[in-house]
């Protein structure tokens, strides 16, 4: 049986958010009705940056509310989109008169609700736009809803957050966000499934000696199983397709995100990052910046994702700009 710290499965998210806000009073305020987080010290005279999505991906997005990143975060239930009203209210609370940019991971429910929220905001006379994050290379197929959004969302929030702080207008911010997204791809591998709060069994069983290749962040199986192997053999299977898909040339610079999916130790993630660097060096790509840790999780899934983000001078400058949020501060 899977044991978790839990009271009622239906209250996991709201209880955690209450605790979260109490833990970070200098950064965030929690409005339980209808359910959103805003900065403790609201920003003035800037485009409001708002993101959200299902819970279960902590620290995303709540952990990125604060100076230099998000103005508001809108959490749904575990793995379920927030509602359009939540998004509208969060956006109105964060709005300073210069419009709202929604950073949305590409999932049907999220896209639908954020698009509706945009219409609701328009009715209130508030301009908004969406940057759709769709970095997951494993779902890059001709048909269907398109690539899923995963860890690249952190880069979008960091880079657009910094630009918003500098005063960029809504159109410029949206264009910047789309540029970051266009230059971002991610591949993930799971070593063990996580368990939904209150479920006693993990969401799938993985036979000995196999890994789930190209997994998403909702605990679901991937299309493919591959052989478990040492890091030095697994990581190239993640990195090479990314370099290829982004058509990264020699001398190009990237931001690397090695992201734990929940239950994977830092010890392992840094070992993975070491391999990523080795492979990038072989490809002549410069790992200009890196973020290694568990930032976009899938409950307590064991595994990791590798994200490469093409980075020009401006993107690097914005990446380096200060941020002060619960999960990312520099």
């Amino acid at each position: 049986m899977r044991r978790q710290f839990i009271n009622d499965p239906g209250e996991v998210v709201s209880e955690a958010l209450e605790g979260f806000a109490a833990a970070w009073p200098r950064h965030v305020r929690w409005n339980s009705e209808p359910g959103y987080l805003v900065r403790a010290s609201p920003a003035r005279d800037k485009v409001a940056l708002v993101s959200g999505g299902g819970s279960g991906h902590e620290p995303l997005h709540a952990g990125f509310v604060g100076a230099g990143m998000l103005d508001a975060a809108v959490p749904g239930a575990v793995f379920a989109s927030p509602t359009a009203v939540q998004i509208r209210e969060a956006s109105l609370a964060a709005h300073t008169g210069r419009g709202v940019l929604h950073v949305v991971k590409n999932y049907t429910g999220d896209v639908l609700n954020f698009r509706i929220a945009g219409e609701l905001l328009a009715d209130e006379g508030v301009a908004s736009d969406i940057v759709l994050v769709d970095d997951d290379l494993a779902t890059d197929t001709a048909e269907g809803p398109g690539r899923r959004g995963t860890a690249a969302v952190v880069a979008v929030e960091k880079v657009c957050g910094a630009a918003a702080e500098e005063g960029a207008d809504l159109a410029a911010l949206a264009a910047l966000g789309r540029r970051v997204v266009a230059g971002s791809r991610t591949l993930s591998v799971a070593l063990a499934a996580g368990a939904h709060p209150g479920q006693s069994r993990p969401s799938f069983d993985l036979p000995d000696g196999e890994v789930e290749f190209g997994v998403g962040i909702h605990g679901e199986r991937a299309r493919e199983r591959r052989a478990f192997a040492p890091t030095r053999e697994l990581v190239p299977q993640l990195v090479s397709p990314l370099v290829e898909a982004l058509e990264l040339g020699r001398g190009e610079r990237v931001i690397t995100i090695v992201n734990g999916l929940g239950a994977t130790t830092d010890l392992e993630l840094y070992g993975v990052f070491r391999e990523v660097r080795r492979l990038l060096a072989e490809a002549g790509v410069e790992p200009a910046r890196a973020l290694v840790g568990s930032y976009v999780t899938s409950l307590d899934m064991a595994g990791c994702s590798v994200t490469l983000v093409r980075a020009d001078e401006e993107v690097l400058r914005l990446w380096d700009a200060p941020a002060a949020t619960p999960a990312l501060t520099w």
């Binding site: 209808p34 749904g76 239930a77 379920a80 989109s81 509602t83 359009a84 009203v85 939540q86 509208r88 049907t108 429910g109 639908l112 609700n113 698009r115 509706i116 219409e119 609701l120």
Partner: protein, 213 residues
């Protein structure tokens, strides 16, 4: 018989619709089980019940649209799933058209339907024949449009819309899904209608009955 739906009748419409959906909750869920993930009836009745509580407290003096505004806000604020927000926007378009007026006239109903259809299409990209609620919305909207153009009495117009929606909904039984979860199910869904479309038919039927009551 009235040639408009007053604020009070709109209340009856909404309650009649809620009753109809609640009665068929299991059936609708079963339909979604055949073509989706089996939560449609539950999602719908939960949201409608919440709306009913909100309606009891709402200020109806805001006009004929106010009940729909409450419905819209409730669905947009509390319903998960795909159909929840789409129904929310659907109701919202009825709310907008009715806002400030004391009653819905036929042209207003035709306008609200057309707007709702446009909204659902803009958001969900479903066209007629994709096996969604649009397969009931489209014929009903057209029926109202034609009736309005012809200057038909409201009762006749709503009867035509309800019948068209019903027919459209039944017709989804023979369609392969191309939007939403049913698109993953393929031929397995053939033989039973789309729950969203069935619900739209109940919506127009309730309008027709609210006129009688």
């Amino acid at each position: 018989m009235a040639d408009h739906l007053s604020t009070a009748r709109v209340q009856r419409w909404v309650h009649g619709f809620t009753d109809a959906v609640e009665e068929r909750g299991e059936y609708l869920t079963d339909l979604d089980r055949r073509s989706g993930d089996g939560d449609f009836g539950t999602n719908m009745t939960t949201a409608l019940r919440r709306a009913r509580r909100a309606l009891a407290e709402a200020d109806t003096r805001a006009g004929a649209g106010s009940a729909f505004q409450v419905l819209g806000e409730t669905f947009l604020g509390h319903s998960g799933g795909t159909s929840g927000p789409l129904f929310g926007m659907w109701f919202r378009d009825f709310g907008k058209v009715g806002a400030g007026s004391g009653a819905f006239s036929l042209p207003m109903l035709a306008e609200a339907s057309a707007n709702g259809w446009a909204t659902v299409t803009r958001l969900g990209s479903a066209r007629v024949g994709d096996r969604t609620m649009v397969d009931a919305i489209a014929p009903a909207s057209r029926a109202l449009d034609e009736a309005a153009e012809a200057g038909s009495p409201l009762a006749e117009a709503l009867e035509a819309a309800a019948a068209a929606a019903h027919e459209g909904a039944e017709g989804t039984s023979g369609l392969l899904g191309r939007r939403g979860r049913t698109s993953y199910v393929g031929e397995a869904a053939l033989g039973s209608p789309d729950p969203g479309a069935v619900t739209i038919a109940l919506f127009y039927r309730a309008a027709r009955e609210a006129l009688d009551a």
